[in-house]
């Protein structure tokens, strides 16, 4: 649920990065954190396990100054990818304004991608949102790896809504800001 603080000249949106375990959700946020000037990003909160898997969520606030002293703030969250962290995922999805679904492009990861997408659909319903209408973009990550499958094949399996999709190598920053811009476009109502 976005908050438009007219008095404070600020509008705040919540965006969740969803996808299977180790698909690169945290890597997206880390690249954003490392790239934007310090005044535009807040503290990067990572609540992970000893094996660097997100246990609860990661949180990164990003602020973009606009004209007339207005600013727009995006609270970027990642959800834990593993199926058994179902409860943590739902608490992140509560009140979300937009979702980035990050898929792992490797062929052998397709079952995990599909399982994660099914969980997203179910979890959105359980927090009172509808997968069919929630602002959504897709990111096909890890495009640099040798065993990836064509983006058309990923789209055929995953992109049932025909939303905007971006190829990415999040580790190197490829496609990271294009993806963020894509979801920002949707939540702010530009497209």
């Amino acid at each position: 649920m976005s908050v438009h603080n007219v008095a404070g000249r600020e509008i705040v949106y919540k965006v969740a990065y969803h996808g299977p375990g180790m698909c690169g959700k945290t890597t997206n946020l880390r690249f954003i954190y490392n790239t934007l000037p310090g005044r535009q990003v807040g503290n990067f909160l990572v609540l992970d396990t000893a094996v660097e898997r997100t246990l609860y969520y990661d949180f990164l606030p990003v602020v973009i100054p606009l004209d007339d002293d207005y600013k727009v703030r995006f609270h970027l969250y990642t959800v834990p990818g593993q199926a058994y962290y179902d409860a943590s995922r739902k608490l992140v999805l509560k009140g979300v304004d937009g979702v980035v679904f990050v898929a792992d492009s490797r062929g052998d990861r397709m079952p995990e991608n599909e399982e994660s997408l099914a969980m997203l659909k179910r979890d959105l319903g359980e927090v009172g949102l509808d997968y069919a209408t929630v602002p959504l973009v897709m990111q096909y990550n890890k495009r640099d790896l040798p065993d990836v499958i064509p983006t058309e094949a990923l789209a055929a399996k995953l992109n049932d809504r025909g939303v905007k999709a971006f190829g990415a190598v999040a580790r190197d920053g490829v496609g990271v800001f294009e993806t963020l811009s894509g979801i920002v476009d949707l939540v702010t109502g530009r497209t």
Partner: protein, 165 residues
């Protein structure tokens, strides 16, 4: 577009902050914060600048959301109150509306009953204010400036060009 949103005009914020001031004084609290369950502070009173407010709100809201999920899985009526007891300071959470919570920070020298009593009184007023400020997305006023955010990020993407696929 988001499903619904909260629009806070100056008068709304003043009313909420006045209620939080009153609560703070009556309950003898150190700080009070009204948080949206998506993790955004709607109003606050006496929250220290030493605390990162954005992280504070994100952690408070997810903490409460986790408890709600727990109650759902246990099949019990949704918990509306939560209490964390610390060594010197305590946190008291109470649900204001389906999407907002009130969190009171108070010292252990203060009685929980006093905090609870005045929090419950304030919640009635705050719930009216939050409900009045909540709008369905269809009523969202145009905020054309917000569109500039995507254009800015496109520029960032173009400027870093770490490599093409």
């Amino acid at each position: 577009m988001p499903a619904k949103y909260v629009e806070l005009k100056a008068a709304d914020v003043e009313l909420m902050e006045a209620e939080l001031r009153t609560l703070c004084a009556r309950a003898g609290a150190e700080a009070v914060v009204l948080v949206d369950l998506s993790g955004v502070i709607l109003a606050a009173h006496r929250v220290s600048d030493k605390i990162d407010h954005l992280l504070f709100a994100a952690l408070l809201s997810s903490n409460f959301a986790a408890t709600e999920e727990l109650s759902r899985r246990l099949g019990v009526t949704s918990f509306r109150v939560m209490y964390h007891e610390g060594k010197r300071q305590n946190l008291y959470f109470d649900k204001v509306t389906d999407d907002t919570i009130l969190v009171v920070l108070f010292r252990d020298s203060n009685a929980l009953g006093r905090v609870r009593l005045f929090t419950e009184k304030s919640i009635v007023e705050l719930a009216k204010m939050v409900t009045a400020a909540t709008r369905p997305a269809g009523e969202a006023p145009p905020l054309p400036q917000a569109h500039a955010a995507a254009a800015y990020l496109e520029q960032v993407a173009a400027s870093i060009q770490p490599g093409k696929l």
